[in-house]
Amino acid sequence: MRRTPAELVGAEPGPAHHIEFDGRPVPALPGQSIAAALWADGVLAWRTTRVGGRPRGVFCGIGACFDCLATVDGRPNQRTCLLPAEPGTTVTTQEGNGRADLAV
């Protein structure tokens, strides 16, 4: 029986809350980043690229690569590996540059 990371470190987290991802609730533990909450839910991609429309998610995990960008609470191009998953945070899969409203 393999253990989990939480079991390894004897984690007793505070009560879970929820963020909203593309309109559905995703559980998050206090202190987790948005990206961590999505990984824990089995989600690996929350952006499509500008040119090829390809799915992307976390690559570097430390804020250097900008692959994990998403639209967070209406603001596009947010690095989800750095942003905490606060109760009620709304995350939307970002298409391209996330500025479709500016398209002409």
């Binding site: 393999r2 202190g31 961590a36 090829g52 570097c60 995990g61 603001r75």
Partner: protein
């Protein structure tokens, strides 16, 4: 001589600090607490919320981790430094400022203006004045592209570590660890300990590089113990180590489902006919670390190239860069690990305070630096790695520039250096500013050692903050 706790140094909001330490990882933490011990008034700045940097990244308090040490080598060293920092903060000798990302250093008549962004709003700009600056900004991972490396589930080895250490999450259940360098063994060891299955650790070198300088190895027994510790964990979990091999392709459409691993020759060229497929749902990949030195190179600091081609800062025995008043400690001087970073942080603090360090500290630095050079030489990427690229493999992840466009720029349009390739193809012009594709573009642009990266802004800064102009520390 430590300043007595009964003599707190007053640091009014607008006062100039004796020392601003940029980066609160092993080097920066050690530097800040040592400098405070020696009576300097310091500010310690980090883009992250907490101290520790990447190496000592740990779960947020809300996750209630009783045993964070189980994900770390040398955790008590960190808690020791963190306790000393807390004591200095209580006595107002050091201020730690988390969530403070430094985007530029500017020389002023009496020291430096340290320009900081704290968030997306115009009011989130801060400028910290300091007489001297110690750069401890660490490193990020070197990546070499391969077909499929942009698939979800393919992450950096350090990224897998960071997400695990901070968020207690894994990218998948069956994770292939690949690339080159000591971080691979550490990452694989953490992943299996945390419950992942690691079907293979795929390392491009044969580790024989370490055996060429046995004297250097023998002088750092702790490194051998650490390596043996990781090796023991991997052995117990039945992890197969595949030396002189590489992941030459990741398969999948919406996420990675398998990789192809091939043997490499001595030049890192894939050997035809040796391919084997390994099913997995994640890949953790990295090819060593690169010093993060943009803040210093923008001021004209001189650099040096390590045996693995990584460009770090040139410092003297007192950890001074060639820019007056600017010191540097740890990975920024060439990647060498946390132990070396701590020693250099302590040494640099002594130099800033104009105190003489203990000779043993200097000797320890010499031994660990020699090991760092050996490690760099052992994991130097061979030129044959480009043999696993295909014309449609994206090199620049941000701008989605494939190999074929870069080769066209070089072969048909005459680009002979990374900058010209960038201007012709946009490779390196995107969000990450070439941090991910830089080494690969340099290789494809032709022979010659790459120079230091130049980035006038070390991180994205909202235009509203640039327009706002400098403001006092908040």
């Amino acid at each position: 001589m430590p300043t007595s706790p009964s003599e707190p140094v007053e640091a009014p909001q607008s006062a100039r600090y004796d020392l601003a330490v940029v980066g609160a990882g092993p080097a920066g933490l050690a530097a800040a607490v040592t400098a405070a011990d020696l009576g300097l008034r310091c500010v310690l700045l980090d883009g992250g919320r907490d101290t520790g940097g990447q190496y000592y990244r740990h779960p947020a308090p809300g996750l209630g981790a009783a045993r964070p040490d189980r994900l770390h080598h040398g955790w008590s060293v960190y808690t020791g430094l963190a306790d000393r920092l807390a004591a200095h903060e209580r006595a107002e000798r050091v201020r730690f400022r988390g969530g403070h990302q430094v985007w530029a250093l500017e020389r002023t008549a009496d020291g430096f203006a340290v320009h900081v962004t704290r968030g997306p709003e115009a009011a989130d700009r801060t400028t910290v004045p300091a007489r001297s600056v110690l750069l401890a900004t660490g490193a990020y991972e070197r990546q070499l592209p391969f077909p499929g490396w942009t698939l979800p589930g393919v992450v950096t080895a350090g990224g897998a570590q960071a997400m695990l250490k901070a968020g207690l999450v894994l990218p998948g259940r069956r994770i292939v660890v690949a690339g080159s360098g000591p971080l691979l063994l550490a990452a694989a060891s953490s992943l299996v300990t945390a419950g992942a299955e690691v079907p293979a650790v795929v390392e491009a070198t044969d580790y024989l590089g370490y055996a060429r300088r046995p004297g250097v190895l023998a002088a750092v027994p702790a490194k051998l113990v650490e390596g043996a510790g990781h090796g023991g964990v991997l052995l117990r979990h039945g992890v197969r180590l595949r030396p002189r091999s590489a992941v030459v392709e990741a398969h999948g459409t919406e996420r990675v489902t398998a990789v192809t691993v091939a043997r490499l020759d001595a030049e890192w060229r894939p050997v035809p006919g040796t391919e084997r497929r390994i099913d997995c749902d994640a890949v953790a990949v990295g090819h060593g670390l690169l010093p993060q030195i943009d803040l210093a190179t923008e001021l004209g600091a001189a650099t040096r190239t390590a045996p693995d081609g990584a460009v770090g800062l040139r410092v003297d025995a007192r950890l001074r860069t060639t820019v007056p008043g600017l010191w540097s400690a740890g990975e920024t001087n060439g990647v060498g690990g946390a132990d070396l970073a701590i020693v250099e942080g302590e040494l640099a603090a002594h130099a800033v305070a104009d105190r003489v360090p203990k000779p043993a500290l200097l000797r320890r630095r010499t031994r660990l630096r020699k090991f760092a050079e050996l490690m760099a030489a052992a994991h130097r990427p061979g030129p044959g790695w480009t043999g696993w690229l295909r014309p449609d493999t994206d090199v620049c992840r941000c701008e989605e520039v494939p190999v074929a466009r870069i080769r066209e720029a070089v072969d048909e349009l005459g680009a002979g250096d990374p900058r010209t390739v960038k201007l012709l193809t946009r490779a390196g012009m995107g969000w990450c500013q070439g941090r991910m594709c830089g080494p690969a573009v340099a290789c494809l642009a032709g022979p010659g050692e790459p120079g230091p990266d130049r980035r006038p802004l070390a991180c994205p800064v909202p235009l509203s903050q640039l327009a706002a102009g400098p403001s006092g520390e908040g």
